[in-house]
Symmetry: C4
Subunit: 284 residues, 4 copies
């Protein structure tokens, strides 16, 4: 749940005075999340919300309502700042300031993290390990959770991917350079529903990434709700917050089950060589 | 109804000599609006048109025809200038000059406003309050009308959103940097029709934002017309100009009904801090 | 039929050495047009091809085949140069050099013109009038042919529009900044077929704009061919080159029929005022 | 199979530290290719993989598995460097260094080549001829294989095209400037299936270009697999690596069959003239 963090970080100078993107974002915590929570409550589902700390501070009632219903809140940066665009000391600063907000507002450190724009760096992984996170949910190396081992420690990855994210289907946001040709609710959501069928058939994990200000819109959420009802009635599915899913995978692994391992860091330095023109590049 | 205001504001130097976008825009007042008016007349509908004042001056017969049929004309800037790109004194200048055109051509101040590109600033809201507007229709914080309270006064918001706007489905306009992959009439319009079903089911408000030069095109409007006929025959719906809808909401509120309130201004200054590079940004 | 003119004009320095866009374009005259001509021959259709003069020179056999089958060839610039990007003397130079190519290769001046990127200027219209063209086919002010009157003379406009053009559905051409999410043949072409139904019902004009290198592709043309067969079998339609359609409209008008008139030039100078920053703009 | 070569070449400075695109790419060799190989093994298919040499070095087990199953590996540059962006000596350097990797890892020179981004230059063709390649698969001048004759020798072209490539349907990759509105599996893949029907009916060649990290995704590959099963059961089709298809075409030609010839180079120098502004251009 990004709310209006996106416009402030994208337009630091005048984002505060751009009321259209502010209200487009505010729809998330004030209208969509109550609707989503109602659905989850009725269907008995517990899920995970990733929220920038600044957004948590701005919308404390929404945070409260999410917690009251037993959902998980994960770390999603301070103001949706992209880790690849800031230096490591700055990344640490905001990462830890966000942790303090989580601690203060939820009473605990979050177990999971999702990077703004999925843009994890090795420095981000190191921060997650250092702070004892049990999982990240930003990287795409597999269909099911896997373990990331780094020199400093390890954590699980619960992988998203673009075919299961509502940004390409519904985001129309010129100020952040993201102009998708918004789809009808049924066409836009059919991608998620087809993903479900495939992952269900494979006995895998289906993790739709839905932004409240996009998929929580009235006409879209109505279809999501009907879909959830249908699969809960007809399929043998387990819905849970990601932290529980990760705990399940961890137990499976400790019991001798196979979980794939990715060893990090992937690279210690650039693979390609900059040309003098600073434009085209050659392999090293 | 923007007509060719878009190309003049986008290409101030040579827009006047770009005949393709000029004619693409002129199709609105000269071909599409007469067609739309005919449909509304036949079906007994009254609706709202938002028109830049310059466009009103250029196409007085179209303005006349709209008024003759009892439709509402709302404020839509002078030449479709984006409020976020001009200073407040300049915004006031054009806002008020547009008001004069409305006064002269319609005999009254408009009751409603829609910002070009939906780009309302706090200064825009202040102008609306100052000039006694009863509503804005550019902001997206809810599915149904809500009240915006500011220190200087209040007005209603009748919220649009991108899933109910024809720009993403049909706009293909390189000169303004808006290159959508134009959809077939039936696929492009299905989004609106699905939105209707959802809002009807919810007992809410369905406000499609249709630009005459886009949705008023022959093959598209034919589908809209058939859809309107169908829902008028089979559904219990009330179509009205936005000013009437707002009056209805206002009466409901005065009678003790609950209408959500958004308090403005949202922010007094920047939320994020510019870096020296003026590019990436950090939260304050 | 643009063939590879597009890459040469877009990348004047190295377009000649970019073999992928060259071959993507060459597919038009060498593979697609023979296929298209075969269909038209079998179905007894005569149509119009707009070809840059340079392309005519490069592919004389294709020009020959088009003429042999009795189709019309219209003026489409010299090397697909955009009239809005060159000064009037330069526009005249290439316009007239193209005329010479038409004269030499087809034995006559063309009757019709379509501007590259539809980008007609008032100067283009003046050239068309000066050279006795009977029609242009680039502007979008109506659904059916209309008359453009200028101080120097008049000509008809046979209007295209983006909902009936294959560029948005199939063009994927990074070198010219045109990256559409290519559609499946059936989804991409459904727009044209829906347009036909609407214009047929209205008793109007259906003018699909199909580029041989896009819609002439095997899997797409197969659907077009089946569609043409179907409507020829079941509908009361008249297919003809645009010049014949224009002659028909002209006769209709001379017989007292109503044809809408657009008076040009639309504007004598800029409508909007540049700011000092040269960026945002205000109405004059 | 590009894997993460794309991010390193696109972001030479910090691509090594962008874990989201790295993992999105790694999904190809580690998850998708094993899945794809399993399908091909079960269905008895041999196919062709084009892999940058750097990627081969990074993922030797995947290369091994592909070879073990009897598939072909073609040349795809060293680090997915675009031939049109580097000088000819640099192109030769990386082209030949890649050849060495192929020789070392596969025991032989590759028979075929596909240019990164399809961006073949005349210099690329010359390198292919010089090194005895039997085919390229990047250019688009026909639906079926054709012969390219150059002064230095000849080779076949097995032509792809954008309607049969998964990049437009599924690629969402901001770092390389490629933001497609990702489609649902069934809508995105329907283009390929329609292409098959058309080429099957024509007795031609169907060559889908599928990137493992895109079409090899779980929900998408499931549809591909079902489709392949269906056409293998019901159609008279021959699947083979491109090298075998080219050998077949070559034998057909030597037996007197007609194979179309394209004579290269197409042009010796620029066709269009740069203006002083270096922007707009005029034909020479």
């Amino acid at each position: 749940m990004d709310a209006d963090s996106l416009i402030h970080i994208a337009r630091p100078r005048d984002g505060f005075n751009r009321l259209y993107p502010i209200t487009m974002g505010r729809y998330g915590p004030t209208v969509a999340v109550p609707r989503i929570l109602e659905t989850y409550r009725r269907l008995g589902l517990k899920q995970s919300f990733f929220i920038p700390a600044w957004t948590m501070q701005q919308y404390p009632d929404t945070v409260e309502a999410i917690l009251r219903d037993g959902h998980e809140i994960g770390h999603h940066g301070f103001l949706h700042e992209d880790p690849t665009t800031i230096a490591q000391p700055e990344q640490r600063h905001w990462f830890e300031r966000a942790l303090q907000v989580h601690q203060r507002m939820t009473g605990r450190k979050p177990a999971g993290y999702r990077a703004p724009v999925y843009n994890v760096t090795q420095g981000t992984v190191d921060l997650l390990v250092e702070h004892g996170f049990s999982y990240d949910s930003s990287l795409m190396a597999d269909d099911v959770p896997y373990l990331m081992k780094t020199p400093a420690g390890e954590l699980f990855e619960v992988p998203p991917h673009w075919g299961n994210d509502d940004w390409p289907a519904f985001a129309h946001f010129e100020e952040i350079g993201y102009m998708m040709p918004v789809r009808s609710p049924s066409i836009g959501l059919s991608a998620f529903f087809e993903e479900f069928e495939a992952h269900y058939e494979a006995g895998g994990l289906w993790m739709p990434v839905w932004h409240p200000f996009l998929t929580g819109r009235l006409a879209r959420w109505r279809l999501v709700e009907a879909f959830l009802e249908r699969i809960l009635a007809n399929h043998n599915v387990w819905f849970a917050p990601l932290a529980e899913i990760v705990a399940h995978v961890d137990a499976f692994r400790r019991g001798g089950g196979h979980v794939r391992v990715e060893n990090l860091p992937y690279y210690d330095g650039p693979v390609a060589l900059m040309t003098n023109r600073g434009q085209a590049a050659s392999p090293l």
